[in-house]
């Protein structure tokens, strides 16, 4: 038993080291190689998507609630973030169709009036303003989740999926409504709020001294995912799993279904909202029409490919998914010539064909996703134990 515990720590340690290495490597690469490389777009986007995928996994994989409202909660988060951080002086120009915004404050401005506009004061107010706005984005999404959950969480499986999908579509329509233009800017984009690029450290002339634009999303997503992992491994996480495995016996053992389902739904939506805010920072404009159900399906695909019920699976899958769709398969879209001959099939749109085939192959060969319901530490532990067994066997043979 003691040995087991030790091995557990070893696996977690390796995982933590890998995470730290990824963070350090990102910072190093960002400051050494071409900052416009697609790699960094992929890193930023996959950090955002892995957070949303993990939040969806908390709901679908760990609590057994099949919800497809993730894009809707991301939309709420993205709009909340943007509305709360657009600087007051640019609002007039962004909301020009609606003669200005009905909110005339911004967290960043608010903090800079306290901490000052220059030097360290500017940095502190940027960080605290952005963080507060991100948390607000999560809270708004969670409050909506609580309200929508009251009627909807009585439904099961497919019916819940349809209801939440409908909710996301309704939200998207409402946010494009002209009458709300003073708040949401109608169907027009919101822009001008702080993005990841604002976290690059600049000198007095505005030249970038040290790049952090890819490190920041990784860090924020990493912290959020870490919190979700803590929750999953806590008493509440176990209760969620009990609800997933068998609702009737969970209820008979004193776990309130209404309370725990609502809790899981709210927490998942909170982090989807945070993910939405990060997505807004990534895309640097927010427009309701981007948060389609296709976005939810992308995230669902990531969850399924990574393994339903595996946090590390979702993270790995989101990187692979984004890298494949945005980066590695790009060359398939361009006509290419080898020795003066045009390579057949390569043309615009062919990328998606190959991509779909790859997804089919992955789903066929990894029925339960890349990671199944295992986590990275489990995997390392198994590898370590196997090695130990092999050495023990060799030892006995020598005797």
């Amino acid at each position: 038993m003691k040995k087991n515990k030790k091995a557990f720590n070893k696996g977690s340690l390796i995982t933590l080291l890998i995470i730290a290495a990824v963070l350090v490597l990102t910072v190093v690469l960002e400051n050494t190689i071409n900052a416009n490389s697609l790699l960094f777009t992929v890193i930023r986007k996959s950090a955002v998507y892995s957070l949303v995928a993990v939040s969806m996994n908390l709901l679908n994989g760990f609590t057994g609630l099949f919800s497809l409202g993730q894009a809707g909660f991301m939309l709420l988060g993205a709009y909340t973030y943007a509305i709360l951080t657009i600087p007051s002086d640019t609002r007039e120009s962004i909301y020009y169709l609606f003669q200005g915004s009905s909110f005339n404050f911004s967290f960043v401005d608010l903090f800079s009036s306290v901490f000052g506009q220059q030097g360290a004061g500017k940095t502190v107010s940027l960080i605290s303003g952005v963080l507060l706005a991100i948390i607000c984005a999560g809270i708004v999404a969670a409050v909506f989740a609580y309200l929508i959950g009251l009627p909807v969480l009585r439904l099961k499986s497919d019916y819940l999926a349809i209801a939440t999908l409908g909710f996301a579509e309704i939200l998207r329509a409402i946010f494009q409504w002209d009458k709300l233009g003073k708040v949401t800017n109608g169907a027009n984009a919101l822009r001008g709020y702080p993005t990841f690029a604002d976290f690059n450290i600049t000198n007095a002339n505005g030249q970038i001294v040290f790049r952090l634009a890819s490190f920041v999303p990784l860090l924020i997503a990493g912290i959020c995912i870490f919190i979700i992992v803590l929750l999953i491994n806590s008493s509440y996480g176990r209760a969620f799993k009990a609800v997933r495995d068998d609702e009737i016996s969970a209820e008979a053992m004193g776990i309130s279904l209404a309370k725990h389902k609502s809790l899981s739904f709210c927490i998942s939506s909170f982090f989807a909202g945070v993910g939405g805010a990060l997505f807004a920072m990534f895309a640097s404009t927010v427009q309701a029409k981007t948060f389609t159900s296709a976005m939810t399906y992308e995230i669902l695909l990531i969850v399924v490919i990574g393994g339903i019920g595996s946090v590390s699976g979702s993270c790995i899958a989101s990187f692979l998914y984004i890298a494949c769709s945005e980066w590695w398969l790009r060359f398939l879209d361009n006509t290419q010539y080898i020795g003066g001959k045009q390579v057949p099939l390569l043309r615009n749109g062919f990328r998606m064909v190959v991509f779909s085939v790859i997804i089919m192959i992955v789903v066929l060969f990894f029925r339960k996703g890349i990671m199944g319901d295992k986590e990275l530490p489990d995997l390392f532990n198994r590898l370590l134990n196997r090695k130990k067994k092999v050495t023990v066997k060799e030892g006995t043979e020598n005797e």
């Binding site: 087991n4 919190i227 803590l230 929750l231 806590s234 008493s235 509440y236 176990r238 209760a239 799993k241 009990a242 997933r244 495995d245 068998d246 009737i248 016996s249 969970a250 209820e251 008979a252 053992m253 004193g254 776990i255 309130s256 279904l257 209404a258 809790l263 927490i267 019920g309 319901d373």
Partner: protein, 281 residues
């Protein structure tokens, strides 16, 4: 004050036009082992499901520790279609708590077809049952400020597993255990919720005579140890006759007999219900 832990009056459960339990009244006195028997389809498990809140009885009153716990009477369409006994006796405000509220009051149960959480280990299965009574909220649990509480839960769970002889399987998946041990684990899980009344739904189903014998001793042992009152459904007559203090017999949803084991054994109506009646011509 009566010394009844559970008091049921005129409980009727009607599904559409089928009356599964009809006007059942019974008492479960504190510290006793009470059995509910009857032929297949008599409505025993339905009665259990009503007591534990899985079903909402159509009519009747259930008191737990002398306080009304569940109360209902036929309303709406059911008022016209009601076929059971004594409708409209319990016109007070309907009480129908969810199963978790009932478990919180101190009634734990096991299931006829074992319902363990299949993706969890033996240890976790018991640990989850401790969740209900732990003093924590999701924030303190997530950020580990409930470390003391968590430690207490783990220690109590381990103690319970050692006591039930399940400690050597603690890291195995619950569903990988042999059948008899799964039943025992289900009882351990129910005990972990710190009940006053334990409902056992066919605890000896699928067990051989040897295992049944052990189970009988085990049930008596946990009653002493945890100050429990036990209410059980069982088909193994030798087990029922050996351990019960009092027996209720139901058939087609209605109570047909009650009494001490020796009285039940010679009761003609019970024998008829089990073996069928030879009709004279």
């Amino acid at each position: 004050m009566s010394n009844n832990v559970l008091h049921i009056e005129n409980m009727t459960m009607q599904f559409g036009g089928v009356v599964a339990v009809n006007g059942l009244s019974l008492d479960v006195p504190e510290g006793k082992i009470i059995a509910l028997i009857g032929p297949n389809g008599a409505g025993k498990t339905t009665a259990f499901n009503c007591i534990t809140g899985l079903y909402e009885p159509t009519n009747g009153l259930i008191e737990f520790m002398d306080k009304p716990m569940i109360r209902n009477h036929p309303t709406g369409k059911m008022k016209r279609n009601y076929k059971g006994k004594n409708p409209a006796d319990y016109l007070g405000k309907a009480l129908s708590p969810t199963p978790d509220k009932i478990t919180e009051r101190g009634i734990a149960r096991t299931f006829q077809n074992i319902r363990l959480w299949k993706s969890m280990t033996v240890f976790e299965n018991v640990l989850v049952a401790k969740h209900m009574r732990a003093k924590q909220n999701f924030l303190s649990a997530t950020f580990r400020t409930n470390a003391k509480e968590e430690k207490r839960m783990r220690e109590e769970t381990m103690a319970l597993l050692v006591e039930q002889g399940l400690d050597k399987y603690k890291d195995d998946l619950a569903t990988s255990l042999p059948y008899g041990l799964q039943r025992r684990l289900e009882i351990a899980r129910a005990l972990a919720s710190e009940p006053k009344l334990l409902l056992l739904d066919e605890p000896a189903a699928g067990m051989n005579p040897q295992e049944t014998q052990e189970l009988a001793d085990f049930i008596k042992e946990i009653r002493e140890k945890y100050n429990l009152t036990i209410f059980l459904i069982e088909h193994h007559m030798d087990l029922v006759m050996k351990i019960s203090d009092y027996i209720y017999v139901i058939d087609f949803g209605s109570k047909i007999a009650e009494g001490k084991p020796e009285e039940i054994q010679t009761n003609q109506r019970v024998i008829d219900a089990y073996l069928g009646v030879v009709e004279d011509e």
